[in-house]
């Protein structure tokens, strides 16, 4: 008997003929639950609690704001996804086409990406490997990550985000939830920001012109 058949047979034997399978009570706040307040403002507040820097601006000011944030970290070159190049005033963007190898990303040291959506309750940005988010390595290897969040993509809750990703067909794509910069609490539970992932997370929330 193969290991597969053996394990499955053991599972069936262990469970017996009719194991109880209760219906799932979903009394928690589900996707689409209506909420008072401004989700975008709440997102900015929550993301800032992780010591991510959050800047909010209009579409027309985006290039200038990205430029200012890049300068704040002494960045003059940034990698960016192949399909979506942002203009960053005063800095050069290097499209991921052909794909930049990890060492090149490491030496460029900064990246600007978009995102699929963001979660207000938890201050999380979600990247889905789509044209705006780019490949996973892009937003991982460089030490500075500038992440553009469209205000219209901010949802309230984790259930909202899970539902939105399913609706977008993102379930089969690589999905990364990012909540603040890389961190560890492994030494005496003291939080240290910046271990292996980007040490600096700069979030720029863009309000589209009506």
């Amino acid at each position: 008997m193969s290991a597969r058949d053996d394990v499955l047979a053991r599972v069936r034997r262990a469970l017996g003929p009719s194991p109880s399978a209760p219906e799932v009570p979903r009394g928690y706040h589900q996707a689409g639950a209506s909420r008072d307040g401004d989700a975008v403002a709440r997102f900015c507040e929550r993301a800032a609690e992780y010591t991510a820097t959050v800047t909010r601006c209009g579409d027309d000011a985006l290039a200038a704001v990205l430029g200012a944030r890049a300068r704040a970290h002494g960045v003059t070159r940034l990698a960016c996804p192949a399909a979506t190049a942002w203009a960053v005033d005063g800095a050069e963007t290097v499209p991921d086409d052909p794909p930049l190898d990890p060492r090149t990303l490491d030496s460029i040291g900064a990246v600007v990406t978009g995102s699929a959506l963001a979660i207000a309750d938890t201050g999380t940005v979600v990247l889905d490997g789509g044209p705006a988010s780019g490949r996973r390595a892009l937003s991982l290897v460089p030490d500075v990550h500038l992440c553009v969040v469209r205000a219209a993509t901010v949802v309230w809750s984790v259930p909202d985000a899970i539902a939105a990703l399913a609706a977008d067909g993102a379930r089969g794509r690589p999905v990364t939830f990012i909540s603040g910069p890389s961190a560890t609490s492994d030494i005496e539970l003291q939080r240290v920001e910046g271990v292996h992932g980007p040490r600096t997370l700069e979030i720029v929330v863009v309000d589209e012109a009506p």
Binding site: D106, G123, R136, P159, A166, T176, S182, T184, V195, G197
Partner: protein
């Protein structure tokens, strides 16, 4: 386990440094969890849902495992099944051999600690690098995990500084500031992330419906390992499944809040098989039994498999917070370990663990999937007595005598008279260990029955 919990606990309790490290760290994390949970006004509803999802998952496990296998395979992954540790280790080693990899990088994974993967790979000439900071600390110190979430919780900063100074940061000036210690690990591991061709991870969840595998982490080492190498192998216990994508909306809320006390952990990664042009070119999923089906066969005990390894039960446990994880003699310490280890390895391998608890119930109260640890502990205590103790024990004789005495009025009254006579030094002789930790109540000068009779007469 070479020695039982009582002996190991006694040694741990004598280590004042360990007790200081533990008391400080667990108090910090308890407060963080409490604050994070208080933010959710639907916390109890989330727990109810999580409990039911896990119970349902176990009931439908065969079909869900097959569904996961189909989805992962459709997405370009390869699925391996392992009855035990040896088969799982062999599957990982075979992938390494196929790619000529003599080094692998690892994401923190208790399942791979359970099966002794690093040692098995080393025996085949493959060196495994732990990349989680705490796991790295333990690996460098030839030490092992004492906490599910913060495996080096028993170490303080100056111990870690001394360790790094003689290993990864030789000859470099280093203070004991956690920032500097983390930076030393970053520098040490960066080159390996960029060059090692194969990684091994565990899984927090896998979604049967879509084939997605999920890893929740903080440092970014998980993202590095699951993204940069050419080959990724994930070792996952059969119990890690969730039926539907939608179930993530529950578990991605309860896990981080219960574990680190954050609304979300810094990084949650999901991938499904192979994504051409993005991440590893090859993905292998090793589905592991290794005793889990034995746990599943115990109708009450099987809820131990619902555990999502948040470690909230450790941080509130009056026993764990004093003795630490090593005394449990297992990669699964604390209250959850006390019910999981004896069931996974067999009661004979860990007969003292179900007794390593005061049954205070704090663990049940914080468990995000509502595992009734106290009830399972009591159940396992019964099983230990029935299944592993052939010999006559003093406690057994005593209980039999008590049962007989309570069986008739005459015998009961005679026992009461005897108790008044025999209380004191004699009782300690007879009762042995029973009274080592308990006070025997002082019998009153006159019993209620004799008082009642006098009053009537």
């Amino acid at each position: 386990m070479s020695e039982g919990f009582p002996q190991a606990a006694r040694a741990a309790l004598a280590d004042t440094q360990l007790r200081r490290n533990l008391a400080g760290a667990t108090a910090t994390i308890r407060a963080r969890r409490a604050a994070a949970v208080a933010e959710c006004d639907d916390w109890q509803e989330l727990r109810d849902a999580a409990e039911a999802i896990k119970t349902r998952t176990m009931a439908r496990l065969p079909e869900l495992l097959e569904m996961l296998e189909t989805r992962v395979t459709e997405a370009g992954g390869t699925v391996h099944w392992a009855r035990d540790a040896a088969e799982a280790n062999a599957a990982v080693a075979a992938v390494a051999a196929a790619h000529g990899a003599d080094e692998v990088i690892k994401v923190k994974s208790i399942a791979t600690d359970e099966i002794g993967l690093n040692e098995a790979l080393a025996a085949r000439g493959v060196r495994a690098f732990e990349t989680d900071l705490a796991e790295l600390i333990n690996q460098l110190g030839d030490d092992w995990s004492s906490h599910i979430l913060v495996p080096a919780i028993h170490r303080n900063r100056s111990e870690i500084r001394r360790l790094f100074a003689r290993t990864i940061a030789k000859g470099r000036p280093l203070t004991d500031a956690p920032e500097e210690l983390a930076e030393a690990a970053r520098v040490y591991l960066r080159e390996r992330f960029l060059s090692v061709p194969m990684a091994v991870s565990g899984a927090n969840f896998a979604i049967a419906e879509t084939g997605a595998v999920c890893v929740v982490e903080s440092e970014g080492n998980g993202r590095m390992c699951t993204t940069l190498p050419r080959v990724l192998v994930t070792v996952m216990g059969i119990e890690k499944l969730l039926p539907r994508w939608r179930d993530l909306e529950v578990f991605l809320q309860i896990l981080p809040r219960s574990a680190t006390g954050e609304p979300m952990s810094p990084y949650t990664s999901l991938w499904t098989g192979v994504h051409p042009g993005d991440g590893p070119e090859e993905f292998h999923l090793v589905i592991l039994d290794n005793g889990r089906t034995d746990v599943l066969a115990d109708e009450l005990g099987r809820q131990a498999l619902h555990c999502i390894r948040c470690s909230a039960c450790l941080n509130v446990c009056p026993v764990y917070t004093r003795v630490g994880g090593h005394a449990y003699g297992s990669v699964y310490p604390g209250p959850i370990g006390a019910i999981l280890t004896p069931q996974l390895k067999g009661l004979h391998a860990a007969p003292t663990l179900p007794f390593a608890s005061t049954l205070c119930g704090a663990c049940l109260e914080v468990c995000p999937v509502k595992i009734d640890i106290p009830s399972v502990l009591v159940h396992l205590r019964g099983r230990v007595v029935r299944e592993t103790r052939g010999r006559v024990t003093r406690e057994g004789v005593m209980m039999a005598a008590v049962a007989k005495a309570f069986g008739s009025r005459r015998r009961y009254e005679r026992a009461q008279r005897l108790a008044r006579l025999g209380h004191g030094p004699l009782a300690d002789q007879v009762m042995g260990r029973w009274t080592a930790m308990r006070d025997l109540p002082e019998p009153p000068a006159q019993t209620f029955r004799s008082w009642w009779r006098e009053r009537q007469g």
